[in-house]
């Protein structure tokens, strides 16, 4: 270990985050490696190591001959201070080498409020922030993940974006890079060639122009770059890479367990949900393969907890069969199994009891809205009756704690809808009173509301976020109507949700605000220790950018969006149709009940999707 590093580690919190050396961390011989890749997660180790996508890409790239992929996370504030003071540049956890000398620096973008951390990591690495100021072929700054579906707020900083699932396209980019290096291409030559790879968006090859009213006029592709870049998907999900042998951190992380990925995509079509649209089409993994992967992962890691991961676990057709198989192994081996993302409407007693058999955990439902009308408008096909039935089942099975998640500020929401949340919580409480076997123990019903953030590539991408004053009024209204000691009400902070709304649908002009805020000290905006709303408002003012233009404005049907250069496979016509149906409170059946023609099936061979 580096001597200076050894000197500063005793002074920082949780130093095990900064050392590497965990079980299954990949250490290669530098002499046998010609491509060095820094896979960066712009948040703490505990959060980044909990991300399955990071583990998949780490595994995929390290399986490549001659490629060494290392992990980089955002050092916490105390560590950053020490690193800057001692002049330690950002390093890869596996080798301890400075990443400024690597060939690739790849960022996983999962949350808009991590954008300042992306800039901070580049700076800690000792690199210029802007793509145009990094002249050489390497290091190339790459970014992917859900936020890349609107790449524009980070366009000036990133050399190329990877849209969609990275398993295959990351390898293609590395192959092209090797060719470029061998033939001594310039960075521009490389980027121009990379733009021909499906799924690669090179922001410097697009010129943004604006109308007088501030809306985009066009995103003009240069040098033959494609007008629209369509995301990549893994076609054969059964045989795509899964990290059975994966790093086991030596210190506790957020999701410290085996994660099994059941399927990608979602059949539901909730109109607010970006993941629900962006990860289409549905592709499932065979239960026999999952069973094998689950058992092998537990054996290899020594984890005694396993969770099933997907956007909606109960929509996995062979779920019962899979659970039976897993439990048959888990029970004698004392491994507990948890099933997140169960829908409130088909929560089954049998499934619950079998899982409970190993260990009982809390129960969470997300009705999202308080009235049936609004739930229909957002296409969250959960009925009050279904939810209460599930709760009764749970309560009679001995559960005494339920979490209910809602959003405030959804399109078409009225005060009646807001108060419907309090009513629903009260009905859940009554359901507990009627069904609990042990009334003396009491019940905890936790109601949480988030502030709705309109996202690109959803039916609500045209919507304005309600104003902050209005959101806070609705929170207050709801708070005043929440009764009973058993019901606890939490609401999400308004300021971060407002910024999230700006960045989610921001264009290139927002980039300068992010840079300005970072220069004034913004980082870790997702953390109360780092976030400073006034600093952000000052940055908007300095740059002459009106945040409300991005967050609160309702867009015209045909407005050019910054993210129109990217496609997730779902057509804009379909999304507009879904928006109109929202305003009529008409539901759209899930993909299994009937295809609604979103267009994502075109990403599959023969246009056949496995909903």
């Amino acid at each position: 270990m580096n001597r200076t590093l050894e000197h500063i580690l005793p002074r920082v919190q949780k130093p095990a985050r900064y050392t590497g050396g965990e079980y299954n961390a990949v250490v290669k011989d530098r002499r046998g490696v010609d491509v060095r890749y820094a896979l960066c997660f712009p948040d703490t180790y505990e959060i980044g190591m909990s991300n399955l996508g990071m583990r998949i890409l780490y595994g995929v790239m390290n399986e490549m001959e001659g490629v060494w992929c290392e992990r980089v996370f955002a050092p916490w504030l105390d560590m950053e201070e020490e690193m800057r003071r001692e002049g330690i540049p950002l390093y890869g956890l596996e080798s301890g080498d400075a990443i400024a000398d690597f060939d690739f620096i790849g960022f996983s973008l999962g949350y808009e409020l991590a954008y300042t951390n992306v800039l901070n990591l580049l700076d800690l690495a000792g690199l210029p922030l802007r793509s145009e100021e990094r002249y050489g072929l390497s290091p190339l700054v790459v970014a992917g993940g859900t936020c890349a579906y609107n790449p524009e707020p980070l366009a000036p900083f990133v050399d190329l974006f990877v849209l969609g699932e990275g398993e295959e396209v990351s390898q293609e980019v590395i192959h092209l890079y090797r060719k470029a290096r061998e033939e001594c291409w310039s960075k521009e030559e490389f980027l121009s060639a990379a733009a021909d790879i499906p799924g690669i968006y090179v922001p410097s090859l697009y010129q943004a122009s604006w109308r007088e009213d501030g809306t985009l006029a066009a995103m003009t592709p240069l040098e033959g770059a494609p007008a629209v870049v369509t995301k990549r998907i893994v076609q054969d999900f059964d045989h795509s890479y899964f990290p059975v042998r994966t790093i086991v951190p030596s210190t506790e992380i957020v999701h410290d367990r085996v994660m099994l990925e059941l399927f990608r995509g979602c059949i539901r079509g909730c109109r607010f949900c970006q993941a629900g649209y962006a990860y289409r089409p549905v592709r499932s993994r065979d239960p026999e393969i999952l069973l094998r992967q689950g058992i092998e992962s537990c054996r290899d890691s020594g984890y005694q907890e396993m969770t099933l991961s997907s956007l909606s676990t109960s929509d996995y057709r062979p779920l019962e069969r899979l659970c039976d198989g897993l439990l048959e192994w888990c029970e004698p081996n004392k491994v507990s199994l948890s099933l997140p993302s169960l829908r409130a409407d088909n929560f089954s007693l049998g499934l619950m009891e079998r899982v409970q058999h190993v260990r009982k955990s809390g129960l969470t439902f997300a009705p999202e809205a308080g009235t049936q009308r609004l739930r229909d408008a957002i296409n969250k096909n959960v009925t009050e009756e279904g939810l209460l039935r599930s709760c009764r089942t749970a309560f009679s099975g001995g559960w005494s704690s339920v979490k209910l998640y809602f959003m405030l500020g959804l399109p078409t929401e009225t005060d009646e809808d807001v108060l419907g949340i309090a009513d629903l919580a009260e009905k859940v409480y009554q359901a507990w009173k009627e069904t609990t076997p042990n009334p003396k123990r009491g019940v905890t019903i936790t109601v949480s509301t988030a502030w709705f953030v309109p996202k690109p590539h959803t039916a609500f991408q045209w919507e304005g976020q309600i104003s902050m004053e209005e959101y806070l009024r609705r929170v207050k209204l709801l708070r005043e109507h929440m009764k009973g000691r058993s019901i606890k009400y939490n609401w999400h902070d308004s300021q971060t949700s407002f910024l999230e709304a700006v960045f989610a649908r921001g264009d290139r002009r927002v980039a300068q605000v992010i840079e300005q805020a970072w220069r004034q000290g913004a980082k870790f905006d997702a953390w109360s220790e780092g976030f400073d709303f006034d600093r952000w408002m000052a940055a908007f003012q300095t740059c002459g950018v009106d945040p409300a233009f991005y967050a609160n404005r309702t867009r015209d049907k045909d407005e050019v969006f910054p993210w129109d250069v990217t496609s997730v496979g779902v057509s804009r016509q379909f999304l507009w149709r879904e928006r109109e149906r929202a305003y009529e409170a008409v539901i759209t059946p899930d993909c299994r009940a009937g295809c609604s023609g979103c267009g994502a099936n075109q990403l599959c061979p023969g246009g056949k999707c496995d909903a």
Binding site: M1, E6, H7, L9, P10, P15, A16, Y18, T19, G20, G21, E22, Y23, A25, V248, S250, T251, E252, C298, R299, D300, S301, G302, Y303, Q304, K334, R359
Partner: protein, 219 residues
């Protein structure tokens, strides 16, 4: 009761005591070694480490107690070493005979580094300090109301050798292990307090041996 003797070095120095226990529990599973579990609703592996090591310290003489159920003990080290993270090395697994209460002393090597070389007179100042009749320091205490308690270090220091090299001063300390024990960090703090000119820029701590009453290795 079985004992696993291991060392902790390099990156593993920064694994905390609780994380280390978890790491061992998982490593036993990875290695296919069954160990005795607690009974009850949520059974967990029954492992303990008698003298927890401070974060950042290296050690050549750590001991973990457990009960191996399915293997000859001599197979344990190789299997565990293949399953442990970098920096933790198991040397031996054996039937523990001597009770933990016979573990009386710990031998630490404390290396104090000076960027500009060891200051003139520092070595003798430290030697004099540790040769005092009594040396009272304040230390944190969870029990005391004020959160602090005063301790006299001298009775807890069995032997102290001070040796100066070019830019370091090494302390070879034999300290009481328990009831009460003495953390060598407190010795360094005493040096910083009473011999400010000898205050080091950086200190590293290494646990070299655990000893019984007669200063023989405790196993």
């Amino acid at each position: 009761m079985h004992r696993v003797a291991f060392s902790k070095a390099d990156t593993a120095k920064f694994i905390s005591h609780l994380d280390l226990m978890r790491t061992f529990q998982r490593s036993f599973l990875r290695a296919g070694i069954s160990i005795k579990h607690t009974e009850g609703f949520n059974p967990h592996a029954f492992v303990s480490i008698p003298l927890p090591l401070s974060v950042g310290f290296s050690s050549a003489c750590e001991v973990l107690e457990c009960q191996v159920l399915n293997l000859p003990l001599e197979e344990v080290p190789a299997r565990l070493n293949a399953a442990l993270p970098a920096g933790i090395t198991v040397h031996r697994c054996y039937e523990g005979v001597r009770p933990v209460k016979e573990l009386c002393y710990v031998n630490y090597i404390v290396t104090m580094e000076y960027e500009a070389g060891a200051p003139f007179g520092a070595e003798s100042a430290i030697r004099d300090l540790l040769a005092r009749e009594c040396l009272v320091m304040e230390k944190h205490s969870k029990k005391a109301k004020s959160g602090k308690v005063e301790v006299d270090l001298i009775p807890l220091i069995h032997r102290a050798t001070v040796e100066e090299r070019r830019d370091t001063i090494a302390l070879d300390l034999i300290l009481r292990a328990q009831n009460p024990g003495l953390n060598p960090e407190l010795v360094v703090e005493a040096i910083r307090t009473h011999c400010p000119d000898a205050a080091p820029d950086f200190v590293s701590f290494h646990r070299r041996a655990v000893l019984d009453e007669n200063l023989q290795n405790w196993e």
